[in-house]
Symmetry: D2
Subunit: 203 residues, 4 copies
C-alpha cells in the first residue's frame, strides 16, 4: 500500500481540509528538505506526551513533572470566585489576550450541536458539574462565554439550564458576555438585540 | 443618441451598480409591462417633491403641508435631553427598530472619508453645531452612533473633536455605542477591545 | 400612501436587488439633483417606445420608423446559412464583441428552468420553430450557444430535442460551442470533459 | 522550548495555512487518539524514502527497487512522439483522469512568477531541454499544458520561447490547450478570445 495515499487520507481528516488540499500537503512535504519532514514527524510523535490536559480546567498546557495544573489554575493571583466556561482552548486564548478577565476557566472541549441527543458525551458537562460541586461555596459568578453562533447559543442555553439548580444551591450568578457592535459592524445591518444592547452599554 | 445607453449610464451611477448590472436593469425594464415603466417613471419624477428633509434632524420623511419637522422631531414624547448623531437615514431606521432609544436624532448624511480635507462639505457638521448651539442647554448627552468600520470610527473621532468645546460649554456628555459580541461573532476571532467590553458588559 | 415605499418596492423587483439595496437606491435618488431624477424619469418613460424588438431575431434595438429589423438581421453582409440561438441579448453582445461569428441570431429571451413544465411560455420556442420553418432551406447550421450552467445545459438539450426533426427535414447541422480552458481556469480544478476537449482542440 | 508552538509553526508553512489554522491543527491532533498521531508521524518520516521522483518526467511515484521510471514513462503503450509539459503533479493527474491523452509528460515542478529573474532556478527548465535534446528526433509535438492564470500564461510563453529553437532543429510542433467554455461559464461574462475559440471549436 501507498504512503502517499495513506498520508493524504490522514491530512484529509484535519479540520477544514478537503481531499484536494490534503494531496497538496503531501506534495508540499515532498518538495521540502528531508530535515523538515523529520522534524515534523518528531514533533507530532512527541506531542501527546509533551502536552497535558489541566486537571482542573482541562485546557492543554506544556506537560511538566511538577504539576498537573496549568499556569492559570495553579496561579494564586487569579480570582477564584469567578469561573468562565468556554467552548475551546482558542476561546480561552482570545479572552486572555484581552487581559480583561482575572478569574479562572473551564474548557468544555467543543460546542453542543443543535440536535445532539447526548450532550454529556460531546462536551465535559459532567466534569464541569463536578468542579462546581467542589468549588461551589467560593464561587460568586459563572460566566458562560460562548460564540454568538447558533451552535454557541445552543450550548450556552444547555449549560445554563444544567447549572441553574447548582446556582441556587451555592448562590452564584450565571452571566453571559455582553452584546454590542463588533469591529467592522455596520449599524445598518445590525439586529435589534445587538443595537439595543450597544445603546444600553454606551460609554 | 441612444435611450438604452443613456439610461444604462444613469443606472451605472446607482450605489453598488457596475456597467454590467446597469445594462441588465435596462433589459429588465424592456421585459416588463409598459405600466411598470410608466409607474416607475412617475414615482421617480414625484420623489423630490413628495419627500422632504426634516428641518431639525435632516432625515427624509413624507412631505406634508402641515409641518417641516419629521414625526420624531415633531413628537412631544421623545426625550429632548438626548441627541443621537448617525451617518445615514438607514442607521436611524435600524436604531428605531431596536426600540431601545427614546431621544432625538441628527443625520450627518454621510461618513467622513479618511483623507477628506473638507469634512464640512461631506457631512452636515455646520448644521449639527448650529442645532447644538440652539438646544445645548436642554442636552444631557450626545450619542455618536457610527458604524465600527474604519470610516465610521474616523467620522466618530472627527465629530467628537468638533463637539468637545460645546460639551464643556453646555455641560453635556459625549458617548459612543458599546462594543461587544454581535450575532454571528465567534469568540476566537474577536479582537481584544470587543472581548474586554463584552466581558465588562456581561449580564 | 408613500412614494418612498412604493418606489423602493419597484426597485426591489430589479434583478439581483434586495429590499435593503432598493431602499438605498431611493436614498441615493433623494441625494441627487432634481435634474438627475427628472432625466432618469424621462428616459424610463421613453424606453418602451424608443427600443423595439427585432421582428426576426427578437433582440432589442433602437426603434426606427424605417425598419422593424435590427442592424444584424437587416444587414446583407451576414451569412444567412448560420443561425445562432442565444438565451439573452447580453450573450449576443458578448458573441458580437468576439467578432468570431458572421451569421445571424435568435434570442430566446431567457433560459429554461430545470423543472419548467411549459418551456414554450418561458422562452420563444414557438417563434424559433416558425423562423426555421421559413428559412430552413437556406440554413446549413444552427449553433446552440448557451452558458455552461445547469440551466444553460438544460435549455440547450431541450432546444436541441425540439429542433432535431427540423434538422433532418431541412438538412442542417445542430452544433454547440466548444469546451476548453477559460481565462482564469486552473488545470488542476478542471473537469475531465473540459480537459479532454481542451486537449483535442489544442493549437 | 514548546512542542505546541514549534509544531504550529511548521504547519504554518503548509500551503494555504495561516497561523490560526495551524494552531487549530495542533489542537486537532491533541484531540485525536495517540495512534493517529503515531501513524501520522510514521508516514511523514517514511515519505521521503517511499516516494521517488521519476528520472524522466520528474513526477512523484511510489519508490521501487526495480525502476527509477514512473509507471507512465516506463510503459510501452504511451505514444513517445507526444510530450506534454505541465506545471505540477496535480495537473498531470487531472489530465490522466480525462483519459484524453496517451503521450508522455514532463513536470516543471512549479510555475514561473511574473517578475522571476532566474526561471531556471524556479522550474526544471534545464532538465526539460536536456530531455528534448535526447528524445528530439522521436518527438512530433510538445504540448504546453499550463493553467490560464496570469502566472500560467507567463510560464507558457517563457517555455515556448525557450523551446522554439529546438522545435526548429528537431522539427516538432509546439501546441497549447484549446480555449473554450468551461463548466459553469456564463457566455455573458466570457472574454472575446474564449468565445471566439468556443465558436471555432463548436461540435
Amino acid at each position: 500500500v501507498d504512503t502517499f495515499e495513506k498520508l493524504s487520507e490522514l491530512f484529509n481528516r484535519f479540520p477544514g481540509i478537503g481531499p484536494r488540499q490534503s494531496r497538496r500537503f503531501v506534495y508540499f512535504l515532498l518538495g521540502q528538505s528531508p530535515q523538515y519532514a523529520a522534524e515534523l514527524s518528531r514533533l507530532i510523535a512527541e506531542l501527546p506526551r509533551s502536552v497535558a490536559s489541566c486537571r482542573s480546567c482541562f485546557r492543554y498546557f506544556p506537560a511538566s513533572a511538577h504539576s498537573d495544573l496549568c499556569g492559570i489554575c495553579g496561579s494564586s493571583r487569579r480570582d477564584t470566585s469567578l469561573l468562565m466556561v468556554v467552548e475551546r482552548d482558542a476561546d480561552l486564548e482570545s479572552m486572555e489576550k484581552s487581559r480583561a478577565y482575572q478569574g479562572r476557566y473551564f474548557v468544555l472541549g467543543a460546542s453542543i450541536p443543535i440536535l445532539e441527543k447526548n450532550p454529556e458525551e460531546t462536551v465535559r458537562l459532567r466534569q464541569l458539574k463536578q468542579r462546581i460541586e467542589q468549588e461551589g461555596t467560593t464561587l460568586s459568578e459563572v460566566i458562560l462565554a460562548m460564540s454568538l453562533t447558533t451552535e454557541g447559543e445552543h450550548t450556552m442555553e444547555h449549560i445554563a439550564a444544567c447549572l441553574r439548580p447548582m446556582a441556587e444551591e451555592f448562590d452564584f450568578k450565571i452571566s453571559t458576555l455582553g452584546r454590542g457592535l463588533s469591529t467592522g459592524t455596520e449599524l445598518e445591518y445590525s439586529d435589534a438585540t445587538t443595537i439595543a444592547n450597544a445603546f444600553k452599554t454606551r460609554t
